[in-house]
């Protein structure tokens, strides 16, 4: 599939206002040829899911540093399902303890990227998912 046509929504859920990481990822993915919609800080999980549907993205990347990932990430997955968009793939990033990752994966988050993840690794994940759904 043409990379340029793969659309990814990046959002910051939760209350922390640090969006350097999210912006960095957005730019890195843009530079790799993806269409990235960056929706900014303090998004509610409902608004993220509604935006993902309207933007017709294939992926939603959630970033969070405040520690509420176990509550908030699965909520986005749930809301997408409610909107009939369970096929939109959700991944997460931020400061996430290794112990929490299995819980998130069980709740529909397809991948969790902790600090130090390279853009190559993210691209590899995107490619794998695209191949699966092709």
């Amino acid at each position: 599939m043409d990379k340029q046509k793969i659309r990814i929504l990046i959002a910051k859920v939760g209350l922390d206002g640090h969006d350097r990481g999210a912006k960095y990822i957005s730019q890195a993915l843009r530079d790799r040829g993806y269409e990235v919609i960056y929706t900014g800080i303090r998004q509610t999980t409902d608004d993220v899911a509604k935006a993902a549907v309207q933007e017709d993205v294939k992926f939603v990347g959630l970033s969070l540093l405040s520690g509420a990932h176990n509550q908030l990430f699965p909520k986005v997955v749930e809301k997408l399902r409610e909107l009939g968009a369970a096929d939109i793939v959700v991944f997460g990033g931020g400061v996430i303890p290794a112990d929490d990752i299995p819980f998130l994966l069980e709740h529909g988050i397809r991948a969790v990227f902790t600090p130090g993840t390279t853009t190559d690794q993210m691209e590899e994940f995107i490619r794998t998912v695209m191949e699966e759904s092709a």
């Binding site: 340029q4 659309r7 730019q27 269409e35 309207q54 933007e55 017709d56």
Partner: protein, 349 residues
């Protein structure tokens, strides 16, 4: 599973979003598919253009506030440039537009990348706008990437073009003067509390007074508004005015004339876009060899012949109703049939 067309008729948000993607990815196929939705009553469409950072997205957010308060449903398309290097794009308009806790049936926002399209808009923009009309939004807003000669296309897509400027950019305005005067139906001085708002106002008034287009009797002359989009100052006045325009007889005449030019341009563009794709397809299997004794023009004639022959064959297989297809189809008696010549040259490999 219901078809995309059925889901569109049921006004499903997801179907609308997917239909817009299809229009972007396959403009011709989508135009053909969605023509099955039938004709649609035109909706009020406003284009917003202006230099980067002048506040177009912030203003749209403020207009959405007004629209929601009045129970109007609004569809927004925001175009950002694609990166010429990677082809990717970082679409940031939504960030400034989105209302918290919005009702997705009432406020629909879609970010598009220009995907290198020359006009600064996106390749499937015509079809995407008509999908929003079919969906039945009361108001449709289109944000374009900055201004320049290339962005003139927006005036052929919407009823009114709103040019958003900010104080303190006199030189830039001088530089884009002729383009602006050609496309603007309304001017807006945003960030109007900044110093220089008065100077900008008088500069615009001078430009309007000297632009030939606005000198004739009974002609529509752009009004100038001031807003502070970030806190909503001046926005309700603008919004009221946008809707009262529909009763203005001078504007009505102007819009009717504009609609004729718009349709001409849209047909023209559609033909060009279609040929662009067909031509690329026809040339794909051919290795062009500069040593061969054909010049570019001669080759082009053969490509045209080949493209027309294929399209003719497709029409014959699937006859259209009426005879407009026949009248317009290539290769008819009145045209020399260039397909009779040798087939396209192929380079030895």
């Amino acid at each position: 599973m219901p078809s995309l067309l059925d889901s569109l008729r049921d006004r499903k948000v997801r179907a609308l979003a997917q239909a817009i993607s299809l229009s972007e990815n396959d403009p011709i196929g989508a135009a053909e598919l969605f023509s099955q939705l039938g004709p649609v009553a035109p909706r009020y469409k406003i284009g917003l253009t202006g230099p980067p950072g002048s506040g177009k997205s912030t203003l749209i957010r403020a207009l959405l506030d007004q629209a929601v308060a009045k129970g109007l449903r609004t569809g927004v398309i925001a175009v950002d440039p694609s990166s010429p290097f990677s082809g990717g794009a970082l679409l940031g308009d939504r960030l400034r537009m989105q209302l918290p806790n919005f009702d997705p049936q009432q406020v629909f926002i879609r970010s598009l990348s220009s995907r290198g399209h020359l006009g600064g808009l996106s390749p499937g923009i015509l079809t995407s706008l008509s999908l929003l009309e079919h969906y039945g939004f009361d108001l449709i807003l289109l944000e374009t990437v900055g201004v320049g000669q290339a962005e003139i296309e927006v005036m052929y897509l919407v009823d009114l073009v709103l040019v958003v400027l900010v104080p303190g950019m006199g030189d830039e305005i001088q530089a884009m003067k002729s383009g602006l005067m050609e496309i603007a139906d309304l001017f807006l001085i945003n960030k109007c509390r900044r110093p220089g708002a008065e100077a900008l106002m008088s500069e615009l008034l001078t430009m309007l007074a000297s632009a030939p287009r606005f000198q004739e009797e009974g002609v529509w002359r752009p009004e100038i508004f001031r807003t502070e989009a970030i806190d909503g100052e001046g926005v309700s006045a603008l919004f009221e005015r946008l809707f009262s325009y529909r009763e203005d007889p001078v504007l009505q005449t102007y819009l009717q004339n504009k609609q004729r030019r718009r349709l001409y341009y849209q047909v023209f563009q559609s033909v060009l876009n279609t040929f662009r794709v067909w031509t690329a397809d026809a040339l794909k299997p051919i290795t062009l060899n500069p040593d061969q004794a054909f010049n570019a023009h001669e080759l082009a004639q053969r490509v045209i012949g080949e493209v027309c022959r294929q399209e003719r064959a497709r029409h014959d297989a699937q006859p259209l109703e009426g005879n407009i297809a026949d009248t317009l189809a290539c290769g008819s008696a009145s045209h020399p049939d260039i397909t009779k010549r040798d087939s396209l040259p192929r380079a030895e490999t």
